[in-house]
Amino acid sequence: MAVAAAAGTALGWWGVPLGVVAGAVRVSTPFLFVSLGECLTERSGRINLGLEGTLVMGAMTGYGVSYLTGSPWLGVLAAGLVGAVFGATHAAFCSLPRVNDIAIGIALMLFGIGLAFYIGKPLIEPQAAMLPSINLGWWSSVPPLRDALRVNVLFLIGVVLAPALVWGLKNTRWGLILRTAGESADAALALGYSVNLIRLGATMAGGFLAGIGGSFLSLYYPGSWNERLSSGQGITAVALVIFARWDPMLCFWASILFGGAGAFGPALQSVGVTEGYYLFNAAPYILTLLIMIITCSPRRTLTGAPAELSITRS
């Protein structure tokens, strides 16, 4: 810190860990919401790969509604609702006999992205009202630290949501029903529940959260709508769920890790390390793959994997 003090406002090499932490908080929110949503969906025994499309639709809708109404929170809500509609569409198609949930997901990803680009053309130029942030760093005298602690409400909601989902899945009747549908469709049926209805609910909830994750991109960080806004955050978040073993709390940590890894490249460059930035930029993907290789095992089914999930059946 002596260096930082000497340079006044600059942080020097201390900026790298700070940048990674700040980046983790900034970048992780969309991953967090999508992965929590996908976690719910997958716990009910279905995988929705279409959340990338939902995320992009959410980003566009949130931005558009915020622009038209002047209220970013209405935008967030609208993004969630559009996400829920996409979730319902996914569930409706999947309830048809012999229809593959992974394929429907890929189709909805394409459709969602296409639709968002189609409708969103006139929204690229205008500026919409942004979501506010909460300043948790008022006590610090180091401006970059103060800024790193300027966090968005959605992130805080995500922080609360993750343990709440863990608790809810474990301790509530809804959680039990959801898990039953994911572990054994027959058991759920025997208990008198409609598996399709449960999964409809779970997919809609997942879509709702993914839509909100998208609105974070357009309404807070980076905070604008355009066609390059998502660079695969939605689909990567789906990967994070498997990586996080279908545990909402682990989804939270995985999102933070992923966000931090994404901030590593720019943070290093800001102190003058510019060699091999493409490889640094790919760090999150390499990291995810490596951790999946280390933690997966061919002999037993993944711990925590819902037995009904198509991707984990072998």
Binding site: N226, R228, S231, A267, Q269, G272, T274, N281
Partner: protein
């Protein structure tokens, strides 16, 4: 399910519709769609309203549209693959286009060269390419010395910065980008010889999250004026404004995005060039195959100064602008060392803007923090 019923119920109608579509297509005559007018095709690599590279060209296309007797056709988000070859041919074959503006750098070699050789009657005006005598005569390249405008913007930035640290979010370490970073830094150094410019390469012409992350990292390092060279500067401009630092724009005027934080910017002036080219083409006048120009020729311009620009900055910038407009002033002159301490321009040597050596720039000047690989 519902949609299967729909598909059955509408089956007959659908078949009829397709039949009708086929019939109409059969009746369409083979002539170009826009008889009488000169058809000019514009091809963009990204979105037309990106507040940046593509928008600057689209504004030029809009200006050309106003010229009587011109019909403009446009296509956006065309990748730099054989897709652009097909787009050019489609504009020629199906729209009757005789003048094309494929506006992305990556279109030139091999795509524009290939189609130009194939369609000698069509004129290809490419932005940024280096046309040489070996290339087809109906192909041509034009570009602006936007580093002149970046030099002026750098002067304003240098006068405004209090921390002595400027930030530059760049896409890739290619000559055009390096030349901008260097000119910006050299301009700033006229105000404060010790000033530094920190560079972050995002590796991509358009990736908003990475650009925002780069801007934030730079601001965390104490940068208080930032600029960029990516296709759409909107993210960098807005991020700077939100974090309370100053910004200079690029490609287009972005002052509406950040009225207080926007100091000035380096802009293209394709609105000036394209109608001129269009009229020359229609009159049958020859357009030079290799066309370059800066502030003096009106190919680039500097945005109007924002409210945060001080009197001294304004004056210094205006002086530099006047010198550049007068001609003969060299931004890149010796002695000049790169940021690794190597002499890149010897003492007493000066590279005028037209010097092709500058189009091959592969170094960052002293004062720039970052490396070219």
């Amino acid at each position: 399910m519902a949609f299967t019923r729909i598909s059955r119920r509408h089956l007959l109608q659908g078949t009829a519709a397709i039949g009708a579509a086929g019939a109409i297509a059969g009746l369409l005559p083979g002539r170009p769609a826009f008889a009488g007018d000169v058809v000019v095709g514009f091809i963009y690599v990204g979105s037309r309203d990106d507040y940046g590279y593509n928008q600057a060209h689209a504004q030029g296309a809009a200006a050309l549209k106003k010229v009587p007797g011109v019909k403009v056709v446009e296509e956006e988000n065309v990748p730099e693959t054989d897709a652009v070859e097909k787009t050019m041919e489609s504009m020629i074959n199906l729209d009757g286009a005789t003048l094309l503006f494929p506006t992305s750098f990556g279109y030139y070699n091999p795509h524009v060269l290939k189609i130009a050789a194939k369609d000698p009657k069509v004129r290809f005006e490419h932005c940024g390419g280096l046309w040489t005598e070996k290339d087809p005569k109906n192909a041509a390249s034009y570009f602006g010395y936007i580093d002149e405008a970046q030099y002026v913007a750098g002067i304003v930035a240098g006068h405004t910065s209090k921390t002595g640290k400027l930030g530059f979010v760049a896409a890739k370490p290619i000559p055009q980008v390096l030349r901008n970073i260097n000119a910006y830094t050299l301009g700033a150094q006229t105000a404060n010889p010790k000033i530094t410019t920190q560079v972050i390469f995002t590796g991509d012409w358009s990736m908003p999250v990475k650009e925002a992350e780069a801007a934030n990292s730079l601001i965390d390092q104490g940068v208080d004026v930032i600029t960029c060279h990516v296709d759409g500067p909107k993210t960098v401009v807005e991020t700077a404004a939100r974090r309370g630092i100053m910004v200079t724009g690029y490609h287009c005027d972005q002052s509406v995005l950040a009225p207080k934080a926007y100091l000035t910017g380096a802009e293209w002036n394709w609105e000036g060039l394209y109608p001129k080219f269009g009229k020359m083409f229609m009159a049958g006048e020859p357009i030079p195959n290799f066309y370059r120009g800066g502030l003096k020729e009106g190919l680039v311009k500097v945005s109007a100064y924002g409210p945060a620009v001080g009197e001294a900055a304004r004056k210094a910038a205006d002086d530099a602008k006047a010198k550049l407009m007068a001609g003969g002033f060299a931004i890149f002159k010796g002695p000049m060392t790169d940021n690794k301490g190597k002499m890149v321009i010897a003492s007493g040597q000066a590279h005028g803007q037209t010097d092709p050596v500058l189009e091959r720039m592969d170094y960052l000047v002293e004062g720039v923090v970052g490396s070219t690989s």
